[in-house]
């Protein structure tokens, strides 16, 4: 099931306004994504790891998330040392591993995980609804906010619809296999989900127009920025500034 398990909690991070988390999250992500220095990415990884620990995520869940994100890094670890080329090689049994390849794979692993930690600590601790409203206040187009919030709202409903259809298919003895029948069945299941969501969209739209909808969504709680929020923003921005400045000192 689709859930936001990291958004539940009462730590200092969970209580901060989405806006003061979005800005530093973007700053840290940019710094880590664009840096090619081991010092910056390594320090970044440690710093974001500390932030993540402070936000107290569920350890089991966290481990699973880290593994699933690192599937792509694993793919790079399997391909780059063998295919990257370069003059320096490292003999490994009967293979010659490219040192440059290993270097690039390590760098990417550090970046990917640093950004993941930052994301989990800063953004996953807010609900999508508050992130959406936060993004709108930071200048995201209103229509896009609307799309985001409504897709989010209907996501669960549509997923339930699909699961219901799938359950019905299974009750009628459907077993997925490598066959055209399987693909056709999945297509029809999905096609039916599409038809249902199309009609639901129509109904929801009519209901909203009837209630005077004019394109604005008003959030139920509109938090004011507090002193702690500003302090939090300043601290994290200072940290990211120092992180970005590392290459100039070393």
């Amino acid at each position: 099931m689709i859930e936001e398990p990291f958004a539940r909690g009462t730590t200092f991070f969970h209580r901060r306004d989405a806006r003061v988390k979005l800005i530093p999250a973007l700053a840290i992500t940019l710094i880590l994504a664009l840096s090619s220095s081991f010092l910056v990415t390594g320090t970044g990884c440690i710093l974001t790891g500390v932030l993540l620990t402070l936000s107290r995520p569920d350890p089991g869940l966290l481990l699973r998330r880290i593994c699933s994100v690192n599937i792509f890094t694993l793919f790079l670890w399997f391909t780059l040392p063998l295919t990257y080329g370069g003059t320096k090689t490292l003999p490994f049994f009967f293979l010659d591993l490219s040192l440059d390849g290993i270097r690039v794979a390590t760098l990417i692993t550090l970046k990917t995980n640093g950004i993941l930690f930052c994301f989990l600590a800063l953004l996953a601790t807010s609900t999508v609804a508050s992130l959406g409203h936060g993004l709108e206040k930071l200048g995201m187009p209103r229509k896009l906010t609307f799309l985001l919030l409504f897709s989010y709202r209907q996501l669960f409903v549509i997923h339930q619809e699909y699961l219901r259809l799938q359950r019905a298919a299974r009750l009628r003895g459907f077993i997925p296999a490598n066959s055209l029948h399987t693909y056709r069945t999945y297509s029809h299941l999905f096609g039916m989900t599409l038809v249902k969501s199309w009609n639901r969209a129509e109904r929801v739209h009519q209901a909203m127009v009837l209630r005077g909808f004019n394109g604005t969504l008003i959030p139920l709680n509109q938090p004011e920025l507090r002193r702690e929020d500003y302090l939090f923003l300043a601290t994290i921005l200072l940290i990211s500034f120092l992180l970005a400045a590392i290459p100039f000192f070393c």
């Binding site: 699933s68 229509k143 409504f150 897709s151 549509i158 297509s187 096609g191 009609n199 969209a201």
Partner: protein, 202 residues
């Protein structure tokens, strides 16, 4: 189908972000409040499609169905895909914020292109409809994989072999996407043809 954060270099990231911003702006401009609900719901449905795993050989792949979304929404598919990918980034941490531009472009660009060029065929005979469905699924997936490999290669020439392996591994997925999109189009034509014929694509 996602490039994770940290792989691409600045020029590729910026290029992707700029093009995605342009595509999203065009898509939003063509979208009025009467259709926004439909696009929201289809965006959510597109997200759900990525949770459907179909068997291929010994393993399984998840659906993408960008081509189908392009056929149904035209330019509207662009913001819909951006939103779905943003939700995936928030829910599952697949992809990320900085790489969102490139990832969205990789999926939404081909989707809109295939959708706009093939949707006239949907009004034709059954055979033409099926062809449009298959081609939309197959070509959008092929172009997406090509763009993804291209983005990785442009970031670092040393990634050439990795990019080629990535592209080749997407071949069976292209076929599956083509077949499924074809069957879905056939299904919609029988069950609720106005979804295909409605003039919502601009």
């Amino acid at each position: 189908m996602h490039i994770s954060e940290g792989v691409l270099t600045a020029p590729v990231l910026i290029g992707g972000a700029v093009l995605t911003a342009v595509g999203t702006t065009v898509g939003l401009k063509k979208l009025d409040y009467d259709r926004i609900m439909t696009v929201s719901l289809l965006s959510a449905t597109f997200f759900v499609a990525s949770l459907i795993h179909v068997p291929v050989g010994p393993g399984s792949v998840h659906l993408l169905l960008g081509g189908l979304l392009g056929l149904l929404l035209g330019w509207g598919a662009f913001p819909a895909i951006v939103v779905a990918l943003l939700l995936q980034a928030i829910f599952f941490q697949y992809g990320g914020i900085v790489v969102l531009g490139v990832n969205s472009l990789n999926i939404a660009g081909p989707a809109v292109l295939c959708g706009l060029s093939l949707s006239p065929l949907l009004k034709g005979s059954k055979k033409q409809r099926m062809t449009a469905g298959f081609l939309a699924g197959f070509c959008s997936m092929f172009l997406s994989a090509l763009l993804m490999a291209g983005a990785i290669f442009l970031s670092d020439q040393g990634f050439l072999h990795a990019a080629v392996i990535l592209l080749a591994s997407h071949l069976p997925i292209m076929l599956i996407e083509g077949l499924i999109t074809m069957f879905v189009v056939g299904f919609l034509a029988r069950v609720q043809p106005e979804i295909l014929s409605q003039d919502t694509r601009k």
